[in-house]
């Protein structure tokens, strides 16, 4: 069951619940980070999730991650029912993610995400990590490293991914609209994962001023060159292909709208036409210049 949480107090609770020494090693991504960033535009409307995605950095620091989890468990944090240990690190794909409830009210839980090592080819990879004698998995997304660049800091002092660097990994992760659907229903419907992730890109763009969206170009390009020095041209050229497909398929766009209506754009009366128009702006203002930039040095 999902519920809405006010992003501002939730960031404060995270600061209070997480030990001070961990603050510098995590940052928030996903819908909570977006809802916090746009809290003024959203008039502090709650975010429809219990899940706080915490990226542990630096990249590949699984020991630090295990230590963090053990530290939290030692402070009375509780495992989510989905979070249970395996006896061995293989098969990695069957390991459970580390999901922990804070002590006290269980209205949210944190899930640890990992940053990829340079050269990871898989879109998503499970990295085994041993916590308190059992094995768990750290979901490690190929393009997550981009979200670590240009992080912003909340008023409470916790880092979170910037809108620019939240959107680029989603675009790159979906060069086509894939047929996989979310395992859990969103607003009563099992949605295409591509529609959910690309829908969030459109929601973030819709909440931003057009000039601000256009300004994502430079950090996108710099991030691609830094994180993917051998592949950045190819990635830049393909960054918009999934979005184009989404915009061309009204049924998929409708699924994206559904996730937006349940999520970030809840109650704002945003229509299919609005999302399509924002998507076309993203293509002209960002995707095409990004592709054009590959022609230079």
């Amino acid at each position: 069951m999902s519920m809405t949480l006010d992003p501002e107090p939730l960031f404060q609770r995270l600061i209070d619940d997480l030990p001070d020494e961990l603050h510098a090693h995590v940052f928030v991504v996903g819908s909570l980070a977006a809802a916090y960033h746009f809290r003024v535009e959203l008039q502090r409307q709650g975010v429809n999730t219990k899940d706080v995605d915490l990226v542990v950095h630096p990249a590949g620091d699984t020991i630090s991650c295990a230590g963090m989890a053990e530290r939290l468990l030692g402070l009375g944090w509780q495992r989510h029912p989905d979070c249970y240990a395996a006896a061995s690190p293989e098969p990695a794909d069957e390991l459970r993610a580390i999901r922990l409830y804070p002590p006290g009210p269980t209205d949210y839980f944190v899930e640890f995400l990992n940053l990829p090592e340079v050269g990871q080819r898989e879109i998503k990879k499970w990295v085994p990590v041993e916590v308190a004698g059992g094995w768990y998995g750290l979901p490690t997304f190929r393009f997550q490293g981009l979200s670590a660049r240009g992080r912003l800091r909340s008023e409470q002092g916790l880092g979170y991914a910037s809108p620019a660097m939240m959107t680029l990994p989603s675009l790159l992760s979906h060069p086509i609209v894939r047929p996989e659907r979310m395992s859990q229903p969103i607003g009563g419907r099992r949605i295409l994962r591509s529609a959910k992730d690309l829908g969030r890109v459109l929601a973030i763009a819709q909440l931003s001023a057009r000039d601000d969206v256009e300004a994502w170009h430079d950090p996108w390009l710099a991030g691609l060159k830094a994180c993917f020095p051998d592949e950045w041209r190819e990635l830049a050229r393909s960054a918009g292909s999934g979005l184009r497909e989404l915009l061309a398929k009204e049924d998929v766009l409708e699924e994206a709208l559904h996730t937006c209506e349940v999520g970030l754009l809840r109650g704002r009366g945003v229509t299919l036409e609005n999302l399509a128009a924002v998507g076309e702006q993203v293509l002209v203002d960002l995707i095409e210049p990004l592709a054009a930039a590959t022609a230079g040095g």
């Binding site: 819709q206 061309a248 128009a277 076309e280 702006q281 293509l283 592709a291 054009a292 022609a295």
Partner: protein, 366 residues
């Protein structure tokens, strides 16, 4: 389904493909290519004999692909204006059977039209990308049916512009050329507005006063007879004409001039309105209606369908002389178009004040 759209020019494709990272190519049968030359495109521009031309281009591209193993995809793009998508697919299937498989699998087709998009093969993201680029300006290139003022009022407008700018008399022949009408039509207009017109011995003409009655007639007819295309912001964000203006200044389309409040502020630095309620543009359209710049200006704009508040109004000028004045970065629409824009915006006091100021300036000039 048959789409009936006018052609997309090679220049349209060139502008948009280059913006998307393609470059113009020099090779035979190749119009554009990616930087690495692995993806090449030929534009089939307004095919005369659609099936024959399509086959010819395909065979040329097949020859190019057969010669150069480096090419991963050689595709032809065209606007669908005569062929049905079914017919085009059938042509494609026929060609695939006659070509060598190692060549056939590297060919591609993109056809775009109103509510039509055909990409063959349909799983190549680049083809989809090109189709979307094409559709972007196709949608904007649908020529709307534009109303038109009577020729005599077009003549009057040219005379009024000259009077407000203190430009003096104009020869009848030149007046006809600027207004886009014949000598007899100019003569009829001069006769019709004789009360307000001064004729000179060399048969040149000019207004002698501000033509109040004719101006009232123009204002009365403008809502129904003045050409306009209204656009709304489709993004759901607050409409922002100031941002549109800033972007227009970067684009600098040569056939577009600022009208409305922005132009009024040019004609009268004391113009009594701050801010921009909407962006009004005059567009030189005698040679055709080119709205291609709108995609770059804001692809989130859409035509106003029914009631609503537009963020952008484009006023196509169908007369040969656009009568634009050089502006700071982009040209300024003539004062008559500007006044008509203000009238549409119901800025009556500001419009009257601008007329008075321009009248005074015109009198001082004579």
């Amino acid at each position: 389904m048959v789409a009936t759209l006018r052609k997309i020019s090679r220049e349209d494709w060139s502008r948009e493909l280059e913006a998307a990272g393609y470059r113009s190519a020099q090779g035979p049968a190749i119009g554009f290519a990616t930087e690495d030359g692995r993806f090449v495109i030929e534009v089939l521009e307004r095919p005369r004999a659609a099936v024959r031309d399509l086959r010819a281009v395909f065979l040329q591209l097949a020859a190019v692909a057969a010669r150069d193993a480096h090419i991963e995809r050689a595709c032809v793009v065209l606007a669908i204006d005569r062929l049905t998508t079914g017919r085009m697919r059938a042509e494609w299937d026929d060609l695939m059977t006659v070509l060598r498989p190692e060549v056939a699998r590297r060919l591609g087709l993109v056809a775009v039209g109103e509510n039509v998009r055909l990409c063959l093969p349909d799983d190549d993201a680049r083809l989809v990308e090109i189709a979307e680029i094409g559709r972007g300006f196709l949608d904007e290139s649908v020529p709307p049916k534009l109303p038109r003022l009577s020729k005599s009022l077009d003549v009057l407008k040219v005379l009024l512009v000259r009077w407000l700018l203190g430009q003096g008399p104009i020869a009848r022949g030149e007046l006809g050329e600027q207004a886009g009408c014949s000598y007899p039509t100019v003569a009829k207009a001069v006769e019709r507005f004789a009360r307000d017109i001064r004729e000179h011995s060399n048969r040149s003409v000019e207004l002698k006063v501000f033509p109040r009655d004719a101006w009232s007639e123009l204002l009365a007819l403008a809502p129904t007879c003045r050409a306009r295309i209204a656009y709304i912001d489709r993004t759901g964000r607050r409409p922002d004409p100031e941002t549109l203006l800033r972007r227009l200044k970067k684009l600098m389309p040569s056939h577009v001039a600022l009208g409305g409040v922005a132009a009024a502020q040019h004609w009268d630095p004391h113009f009594d309105l701050r801010g921009l309620p909407r962006l009004d543009l005059s567009l030189a359209a005698e040679g055709g209606l080119d709205l291609g710049f709108l995609r770059r200006l804001d692809p989130g704009l859409g035509p106003l369908d029914g009631e609503g508040t537009p963020v952008l109004l484009v006023h196509p000028l169908q007369r040969p002389a656009a009568l634009f004045t050089p502006g700071d970065q982009i040209p300024i629409a003539d004062p008559v178009e500007t006044l008509l824009d203000l009238s549409e915006l119901r800025l009556v006091d500001q419009s009257n004040a601008l007329i008075e100021r321009l009248e005074r300036r015109a009198r001082e000039a004579t």
